[in-house]
């Protein structure tokens, strides 16, 4: 059954001719009722809608936006998603493009002269700038929270951004969502935007309310020309806010309608790094207290390949160190062709209750957890989304007696979540401790695929999981990674890595992930295994993938050469 919601489309048209055209199109395509006016500036137009609209929602569209025929259904979906994400009382506007809060990266769900990439997302994204081509106003909430636009700023630019700012000031979130996808036939007028944003009206409006000297908008950063640093002085009476902290506060205030997420920290260990493992548990203990009202952190220690280690004694030692922290121990008895480390993860995944609020976070025994931003992470945990955060690497020297390193030197920027896709080319930009999987995603990976690699098993898991799940990557520091003498990173003999990488490539090739435009989501283990054994992957790799990769490389080289030549002119 199609979802319907009472709303109207509002368009501020450039002239009467455009109004006539829209009326004809509306009749012809049976579009929902449109309010078409011409004359006022955009700020006055929005004020009029909030004052006069008889519905709870209003969809504002530019007059060069092509609205899809099923817009009513899309709007209903958008409202449902926004309500589900943050609660029906918490949001003021939704658009289809903007600047993502936290990462400050542009997100677009539209086709316009700048882009045509439309990734679908099952959840909306909080934004700090929204594009006004299409915006859904939650009239009821705007009125209830006494939303007002500043009287000093008028015109045809930045009404979208200023509306967003005023929403946040009234404790209402602004979101971007793929359900409002449209075709926008304009790339915007950058010159007009630049003039407006550097003009005294906007500059004064901003400086009066906020301390930030750079404003992140979808049209690019706006510099505040005469910043006032009064907020930094002793005994300052300056009550202006940091806009981006205000937004973050608003995101953190989202009360989860859903049940508190349970994040199962899975640590695979052969019990040979107990001092490091204790450091990891110490960090979990600290984190657990910090985020207890946001996330339920649990620990599963999956023991593999323990060899001659006295497991009972080691468990008792770990339990002593863990104190009140409850740990589930799994002793793996691997009789499969899987690598021990991977099998350990599989056992832990199988031990987790399958539910929407269950997540898996694989933290190796020599890694550790950063507690502070986990509460922000909790707002992005979603049963259909793989969360990728930031990790920090540390060059460390350890002596066996301590539960902390003798020397630890941070290497900021060693890992970078934005480059996560390059993991699949063999570069390590996102270690597995940067990733929080929905439990069912890993469950499906293990039930549908036979993973035979070893060192690249983490990338394989992520790659296969993301076929069906959204990926949300944000520069939020969640884990520390130790580089020390026992670390595989420093192994000179890379045979295992090369072997593993080839296995990983063969697996994804045979899973049809790379060469099929339509991936068979129900591929079975039998199919997979058959393909693997037949050596089909080698043929595919040799004749198909190599050709494609070479083609890409050649194109890249030509482009680089072209750019170099251009720069010499």
């Amino acid at each position: 059954m199609k979802r319907q919601t009472e709303f109207k489309i509002y368009r501020l048209c450039r002239d009467e001719k455009t109004i006539t055209r829209f009326k004809e199109e509306g009749r012809k395509y049976q579009l929902p009722e449109q309010v078409l006016i011409t004359g006022p500036d955009y700020f006055t137009f929005i004020e009029g809608i909030i004052r006069d609209c008889k519905d709870d929602f209003a969809l504002l569209c530019h007059d060069d936006v092509v609205v899809p025929l099923n817009i009513a259904e899309r709007v209903a979906e958008c409202i449902e998603k926004a309500n589900q994400y943050c609660g029906s009382e918490k949001w003021g506007m939704v658009g289809n493009a903007g600047v993502e809060a936290i990462s400050l990266r542009t997100v677009r769900f539209l086709k316009d002269p700048h882009t045509a990439v439309v990734p679908y997302r099952s959840t909306p994204i909080p934004v700090v700038s929204v594009d006004g081509n299409v915006t859904l106003l939650n009239i009821k909430n705007l009125r209830k929270n006494k939303f007002e636009l500043p009287a000093t700023v008028r015109g045809f630019h930045m009404y979208d951004f200023i509306s967003l700012v005023e929403c946040y000031r009234k404790k209402l979130l602004v979101l971007a969502d793929s359900s409002l996808y449209v075709y926008h036939r304009s790339g915007g007028v950058q010159k007009g935007f630049d003039e407006f944003s550097s003009g005294s009206n906007f500059q004064e409006y901003w400086t009066k309310n906020f301390v930030n000297h750079t404003v992140h908008t979808i049209n690019g950063p706006v510099k505040i020309l005469n910043p006032d640093y009064g907020y930094l002085k002793e005994d300052s009476k300056d009550h202006r806010m940091d806009f981006y902290s205000l937004v973050k506060k608003q995101i953190l205030s989202i009360e989860d309608a859903k049940i508190r997420p349970v994040v199962n920290i899975v640590t695979k260990t052969n019990l040979r790094n107990l001092n490091m493992l204790k450091r990891m548990l110490q960090s979990v203990k600290i984190s657990r207290k910090v985020v207890e009202s946001y996330i339920d952190l649990k620990v599963i220690i999956s023991i593999n390949n323990a060899g001659s280690v006295d497991v009972k004694k080691a468990i008792s030692e770990i339990e002593n160190a863990a104190g009140s922290l409850e740990i589930k121990f799994i002793e793996c008895d691997n009789k499969t062709p899987m690598a021990p480390r991977l099998y350990a993860v599989k056992c832990a995944v199988e031990s987790v209750k399958s539910a929407d609020n269950q997540f898996i976070w694989i933290i190796d025994d020599d890694d550790f957890v950063f507690p502070k931003e986990l509460k922000t992470v909790s707002k992005y945990l979603d049963s259909n989304t793989i969360f990728i955060g930031q990790s920090e690497s540390f060059d460390e020297t350890w002596s066996a007696d301590n539960t902390f390193p003798d020397i630890s030197v941070g290497k900021p920027g060693f890992y970078n979540e934005i480059s996560y896709a390059r993991n699949y080319l063999g570069d390590n930009h996102v270690p597995v401790c940067s990733v929080i999987f929905p439990a069912k995603a890993l469950e499906e990976v293990f039930s549908e695929h036979q993973l035979l690699g070893d060192y690249y098993e983490d990338y394989a898991m992520l790659f296969l999981a993301q076929i069906k799940y959204n990926v949300q990557y944000l520069p939020i520091l969640i884990a520390g990674v130790s580089h020390h003498d026992k670390n595989t990173v420093f192994e000179n003999d890379r045979t295992h890595w090369d072997y593993s990488y080839t296995t990983f490539l063969s697996e994804i090739t045979n899973a049809g992930v790379v060469n099929n435009s339509s991936f068979e989501l129900n591929s079975t283990l039998d199919n997979y295994s058959r393909n693997y054994k037949s050596g089909k992957f080698l043929l595919g790799l040799a004749f198909g993938k190599t050709k494609t990769l070479l083609g890409l490389l050649v194109r890249l080289k030509i482009r680089t050469l072209y750019n170099t030549l251009r720069s010499y002119r």
Partner: protein, 289 residues
Amino acid sequence: MELKKAVDVFCSVSASDGLDNVRNLLLPSLERLAGDYCTSLHLVDFTGDDSVTLESTEKVSVIVHHNSHQLGFGAAHNFLFDKVKPSGFFLIINSDISCSENLFSELFKTLDDREDVGIVEGRQLPYEHPKGFNPLTGETNWASGACMLVNPVFFKQVDGFDEDFWMYCEDVDLSWRAWLNGYKVVHSPKAVVYHYTGGFFEYREDRFYLEQFWGGVNYLYLTYKYWGNIHLWKATFVLKRQYLPKKFKDAILAEFISRKKNYKRAKGYRGRLLALRDRIGINGFNSYR
């Protein structure tokens, strides 16, 4: 029967999330400390409405001292020192820190009942403070105020922190005055505290923070205080060469100039300064020779 050792812990709850940090990070970790210690956590509350309240725990007594207006870091700890009058070494610690279980035992082990030690500094992890120390003696030119065990005799003798710093660098100044008054400043590498919430990764570039502003102002003040006008111009030159917006640098300079008339020079230290320059490297920031 051996009596428990009493330790006073001072913490200034200035930031809005400071009390949450004490509740979730600092206090639980003090509760977990190993050894026979009787710990009193002294908080200073600036709200003026007595809104900062925190229950004592089984092992830690929490005492909130109220003040009607906001104090800088140094002034807050001087205020606590006057109120508490600690008889033994007391700990100054940030609210966003979690102590390792052996913190006290390691700090006191490093101290080893030596009366010539003015400050023992804990080690911050995972981000170590970017400065050196002598690996044999632990001597360091300055100790971070994020976690320092302070000798009350020395603290009283030097009149505590210099309140003119208001915020940032007052710990460097206190450490230097320790050295200049015949006390040692020692780093204790096994006295670990976890400062996950340190500022290394959370400063955005679209605004400035107190640390950036006061770090600049107090860099000039510290130079002026110990080396006078002759070196001040050099410090000003260094500041002007920093990759920062000109208007921000101008604001730092303006703040320094407006406060300069009230600043007090450190006098009578010239000989010791020259002697110590070779020993512990009091010759500027983050350099150790």
